[in-house]
């Protein structure tokens, strides 16, 4: 047990606390943990480790009421690491208030295992903040990776894709920018680089995707002469990658894991080999999908799953990759072929025809906000503003662009209601429209096609007009917009970008906005700016602020202790359970080859409200109320997890042979009441009484849930599992701010 150790650390902390502010940047409150959960924050090749510098404590020590301090630490530690507070943590904040909390936050950001947990939480935040998640790959990538190629697997869908390289590749696509942003933070880099970076964390699989997007459109139909021509040997004998690339003859080796759906376990017996053309279909073969042969309505062999050539390493070998833009963007000859995996594995620089800069040109962002010949990248421009500045185009925009170049007269007839938005929106869309076609590819078709695609000839003059808020300028490439976004202010000295990022944290912490006129909010934003946009310093400053802890009145929350209490939404709830119990991904959110039990768990977890965002909405979607649906979903999930952690056949956390120790652990770990908390002993008593009652009432029937052992489950086991559920659905476990 680690209780004594914690007490010892707590005493040391108290002593350190008396040293005052100047001594407050060391490692403090190193809690023992049985392991981290969740996903993300994988190791990165070529990174210099962590260089996070949250900076000095910026507020003087102020003693705080113990109950208020306990609630504040419980909330902030949960939000940032998913962990429960210790006595030492609470004591430090009781003694020093916000100064103590800043010390703790600094420690969590710089010390393992907290640092890893915090990284996972921030990557989850960044996925939403930079709008990189929420797309449907089989549908939303039909324009970037083409219909009948790429991720379009036809009528059988993903059932015809073998193993999990595809699923991992999709995760890569949504994780890449979030991990890039976190790595920028870890490298101690100015956070404004999220607007301008052309360096991304990428895997080999992602490099393949980026190149494939700008290959000539060669998916069926009508591309039977596309190059390269290549074959598949349907014998199911293995052909290694080197041999396959040398001969352009690929195997149809059976995958280790195939879906039970149609196409999952099929093979081609009606032909010995098949010839295919082009990279769109070859891309599919590399990720575990053998296209139908020939590509027609009545093929000799239907599409089916095969062993992917893209290995697990290829979709987990994260490394920094610099993307350079070709001097001649009309050049569609790839520097590296997208199927040349051996070369891609060692490539750290990609030279591409399409510009890739910041968050707003990633394949994920462009897939989520698909444009078309009518929209013409207006949605792309608008969503970019929403992310970067927290504002969108409205008819009330007063700034007048430098010129009307780009203004679409068919959308915005002079004097009509539409002009207000279009006058600034249309010129800005050119930052994308001049370099990405309506499919966010590099094809720029000169003529309409018979499938309904519109003509979209490449623009001859590149003039991009930025006019928003209090800043306007003319640019010449997509890369310019990142610099221009940084220049917009609120007119009172604060950067709109800094305001937007801080506002996102308000929603993350409180499920509601902060008032932009609140002096405390403006102080935090200003500190972010003066730290040269050090996100780690912002985390430290914001989460120790009364905007989050409620320890004092602010302009947002007019009285002390009036910060709203929110439900612990899915990402927070699942991370807390995983991190506190030392069992990764308890909610089965990242399982790429889920077992039936994990599928069931994931389905239940999906019913728990999660963070999201919406098209055109200035605020993230962060429901906060404990509705009956939230209540029911958390109860179901806790019941589902109980057999995996109580008397489980392997890796059990709690045992019915040690009820006392187990209940103590549940109170301190799951409910977040450390031993010195006034609620600690009462909570133990309530859980103990429940265990006794449940033991008297329950039958010996076993649960059929994951980890359950069927009909032989003892009364004691069922009782302790019920006790775990009680702790798991207790107020402090499901609420943030109690």
């Amino acid at each position: 047990m680690f209780t004594k150790e914690l007490r010892r650390v707590g005493l040391a902390l108290l002593a350190m606390g008396s040293l005052g502010v100047s001594a407050c940047n060391g490692n403090i409150g190193h809690n023992e943990s049985s392991g981290a959960g969740g996903s993300g924050a994988s190791s990165v090749t070529g990174s210099g480790g962590s260089n996070i510098k949250p900076g000095n404590v910026t507020v003087p020590p102020t003693p705080t009421d113990p109950a208020v301090a306990a609630a504040a630490v419980r909330k902030v530690e949960n939000l940032l690491t998913g962990m429960a507070p210790t006595d030492a943590d609470v004591a430090l904040v009781t003694q020093q208030g916000a100064a103590g909390l800043q010390q703790l936050i600094s420690t969590w950001m710089t010390t393992d295992p907290y640092q890893t947990m915090l990284g996972s939480k921030m990557i989850g935040l960044f996925r939403n903040m930079f709008q990189q998640t929420g797309f449907t790959p089989t549908e939303d990538f039909k324009i970037q990776l083409l219909q009948n190629g790429g991720f379009d697997f036809g009528p059988f869908g993903v059932s015809a894709v073998g193993d999990d390289s595809y699923a991992r590749l999709v995760q890569n696509i949504q994780d890449s920018f979030a991990m890039t942003a976190w790595q920028l933070v870890k490298d101690g880099t100015d956070f404004r680089q999220t607007l301008t970076t052309n360096r991304y964390l990428m895997t080999t699989g992602l490099k393949m995707v980026y190149i494939q997007i700008e290959m000539k459109a060669d998916a069926p139909f009508g591309n039977q002469n596309a190059q390269p021509a290549w074959t598949i040997d349907f014998s199911r004998n293995p052909i290694d990658l080197a041999t396959a690339l040398a001969t352009m003859n690929f195997s149809d080796e059976a995958p280790a894991h195939a879906s039970t759906g149609f196409g999952g376990s099929m093979a081609c017996t009606a032909a010995t080999s098949g010839t295919y053309n082009g990279t769109s279909l070859l891309f599919q073969r590399l990720i575990g999908f053998t296209p139908r042969f020939p590509f027609s309505g009545s093929p000799t062999c239907f599409e089916h799953s095969s062993k992917p050539y893209l290995t697990t390493d290829d979709v987990s070998d994260w490394q920094w990759v610099t993307i350079n833009h070709k001097a001649t963007p009309t050049d569609q000859t790839p520097v590296v072929q997208p199927y040349d995996l051996p070369t891609l594995r060692n490539t750290t620089t990609l030279t591409l025809s399409l510009p890739r800069v910041g968050f707003y040109t990633t394949p994920a962002f462009l897939a989520l906000w698909n444009t078309n010949d009518s929209n013409q990248h207006r949605v792309t421009a608008n969503q970019t503003l929403l992310v970067a500045l927290g504002q969108a185009f409205t008819a009330e925009n007063t700034i007048i662009p430098l010129s009307t170049t780009g203004l679409d007269s068919s959308h915005s007839v002079a004097g009509s209601e539409c002009v207000g938005c279009h006058a600034t929106l249309d010129p800005m869309r050119n930052f994308w429209a001049n370099q990405f076609d309506y499919n966010d590819r590099n094809d720029f078709p000169a003529r309409a096609n018979f499938m309904g695609g519109a003509a979209n000839p490449r623009p001859t003059s590149i003039v991009d007009e930025f006019a928003f808020g209090d800043f306007k300028a003319t640019g010449t490439s997509t890369a310019d917009i990142g610099n221009f976004l940084q220049m917009v202010t609120d007119g009172n000295g604060l950067s709109r970008f800094a305001i937007a990022i801080t506002q996102q944290l308000c929603f993350y912490a409180n499920s509601t906005a902060c008032s932009e006129s609140d002096p405390e909010f403006r102080r935090v934003v200003n500190s972010f700016m003066t730290s040269t946009y050090n996100f780690a310093a912002l985390i430290k400053e914001f989460f120790a602020s009364p905007l989050v802890t409620g320890t004092a009145a602010t302009g947002t929350f007019m009285t002390a202790n009036s910060v709203p209490v929110s439900i612990s939404r899915r990402d927070h709830f699942c991370a807390a359970l995983s991190n506190r119990l030392g069992k990764a991904d308890l909610c089965a959110q990242t399982a790429t080859l889920p077992t039936s039990a994990q599928t069931a768990t994931a389905k239940i977890a999906a019913a728990i409200t999660s963070d999201a965002f919406s098209r055109g909405a200035q605020s993230p979607v962060t429901p906060s109320d404990p509705t009956l649906f939230y209540r029911s979903a958390t109860e179901e999930l806790c019941e589902n997890i109980a057999p995996q952690v109580v008397d489980a056949t392997s890796g059990s956390v709690y045992s019915s042979s040690d009820v006392t120790g187990s209940i103590k652990g549940m109170v301190e770990t799951i409910m977040g009441y450390p031993p010195s908390d006034p609620m600690h002993d009462m909570a133990i008593q309530i859980l103990t009484d429940h265990n006794t009652m449940a033991n008297s009432a329950t039958t010996t029937g076993g649960t059929t849930r994951p980890g359950g052992t069927g009909g032989s489950t003892s009364k004691a086991t069922n009782a302790l599992r019920s006790t775990f559920v009680l702790a798991c659905e207790s107020p402090t476990a499901v609420g943030l701010g109690l």
Binding site: S410, P564, R631, P678, I686, G735
Partner: protein
């Protein structure tokens, strides 16, 4: 500071929830949701302010942020010959009678007894349903998908930025005594979909299959069987936490306790209907919506019925044609699901529920080459159609498309509120038709416009189209 939990506390909390919300509700006659958030409520929120309760209606609203081309092929758009429609037989022009008048419409809007020229296509909307259907032609005034929440707020014409569904729900919840006042979003949710808020707070969505999973399930699992015992212990934990809680914390704890009670009650009430749900499609949403209203959970449910989607590129308007068929079929599925259930008084839900659609915008009816060549349609803020079906509806077509000259683009015209006809210079100017449609829907729900007066800003304008309301509520 320590708090001792007494046996009496435990019993009381077990019976009435933390803070004895149930007991307080019994004693005061105030609804539990008011007791949980008294500072958010106004006097109007507390009691049913409507006298004619017999005609009050629950609402199922199909919302769309896609701007589906529902407005392009419904009754009222076939009399002008230069409005462009798909040419497929499944949606061929058909004559139907609504409110004693004959209109052209796409075939799906006809009764299933009406068969198309190919001998297989047929109507999808039962004549009994059509006899309660109104089509209000109006303008939302926006062409932006992301304005769906703003359209729900009538682009600034509702008071305090309240969504229309929220305003309706506040009136109706007190009269129906629903479990919760907040609407439930079934078809909404996920990124880039329809958003629904209540008193300014964004509501989470729950899919039909999730609803089924959450409120049904094993009755023999030992952990499920221990729920009632666990509820008692949970109430003790809530009471313990509340003992030293701030007012904000205490309110949250009360909400937790209440939701727990609600879950238990609903699980037994909804089990039969929910067991029939097999997917999140329109049929699943219809069943879930009907079940939630039958159990008096909420006065307003939102869902999503696709009617062609964002069809900028739609070769031969094929998707529009197909989804016009499936869309009208979906509407009939909602009505059919309602017909299978009754309220607590034994009244069929078809007499207690009004169905309506609200689209962020419509799509071009004519006047652009893309439409003329039937290659797709673009966003259009100047014409949209709200479909309303219910007991209090005077079936008919209200307002209509208007072109200023031959070949000009059709827009929603002015409306004469008494006759409901599209009348240039009518007392409902085209720019106010969206507010008028909202006020009319409110009246059809049984909410007198006078009672709803504070729901709209003083400058909102618009009038109830009285011709569309069968039982016009006055007080």
């Amino acid at each position: 500071m320590s708090t001792r939990i007494t046996r009496r506390d435990g019993l009381l909390t077990a019976l009435f929830g933390t803070g004895y919300i149930g007991l307080r509700a019994l004693a005061t006659g105030l609804p539990t949701w008011y007791l949980l958030n008294p500072r958010r409520a106004t006097a109007q929120d507390l009691t049913c302010a409507i006298n004619a309760k017999q005609n009050l209606q629950y609402l199922i609203l199909s919302a769309s942020s896609m701007g589906d081309p529902l407005n392009c092929n419904c009754p009222g758009t076939y009399e002008a010959t230069d409005i462009v429609h798909p040419t497929q037989t499944e949606v061929e022009a058909t004559q139907i009678t609504i409110g004693g008048k004959t209109y052209g419409a796409a075939l799906p809007w006809a009764d299933p007894s009406i068969v198309g020229s190919d001998g297989t296509s047929k109507g999808q909307l039962a004549s009994a349903t059509l006899a309660r259907t109104a089509f209000i032609h109006h303008r939302t005034g926006t062409t932006v998908h992301g304005d769906q929440p703003k359209v729900m707020k009538l682009l600034g014409d509702t008071s305090g930025g309240e969504m229309l569904v929220s305003a309706y729900a506040k009136h109706l919840a007190t009269c129906f005594g629903t479990v919760q006042a907040a609407p439930i979003a079934l078809g909404a949710g996920n990124n880039s979909s329809e958003l629904v808020s209540f008193t300014g707070r964004m509501l989470p969505s729950v899919s039909p299959t999730q609803l089924k999973q959450l409120l049904t399930g094993s009755k023999t699992d030992p952990l499920v069987m221990l729920r009632s015992i666990r509820d008692q212990s949970l109430n003790q934990l809530n009471a313990m936490a509340k003992a030293s809680a701030s007012p904000v914390q205490a309110a949250f704890l009360d909400e937790l306790a209440t939701s727990q009670t609600q879950v238990r009650a609903l699980a037994s009430q909804l089990a039969t209907t929910l067991s029939m749900i097999s997917s999140d499609n329109v049929a699943g949403q219809a069943l879930a919506a009907a079940a939630l209203i039958a159990a008096n959970v909420t006065p307003v449910v939102t869902m999503h019925i696709p009617f062609g989607g964002d069809n900028h590129t739609d070769s031969n308007l094929q998707n529009e044609a197909d989804q016009t068929v499936s869309g009208v079929t979906g509407i009939q599925q909602v009505i059919t699901a309602l017909g299978g259930l009754t309220d607590s008084a034994g009244v069929a839900l078809t007499d207690r529920v009004t169905f309506a659609t609200m689209n962020v915008f419509g799509r071009n009816l004519n006047g652009i080459s893309k439409v003329t060549s039937r290659a797709g349609r673009d966003h259009y803020g100047n014409h949209s159609v709200m479909t309303i079906i219910g007991k209090n509806v005077n079936a008919g077509v209200y307002g209509g498309p208007y072109a200023s000259s031959s070949g000009a683009a059709y827009v929603a015209g002015d409306i004469d509120s008494k006759s409901g006809a599209m009348t240039p210079g009518g007392d409902v100017p085209a720019a106010q038709t969206h507010v008028s449609a909202a006020r009319t829907l409110g009246s059809i729900l049984g909410i007198p416009d006078a009672v709803a007066a504070n729901d709209y800003t003083a400058s909102s304008g618009g009038k109830v189209i009285t011709a569309a309301v069968a039982n016009l509520p006055t007080s």
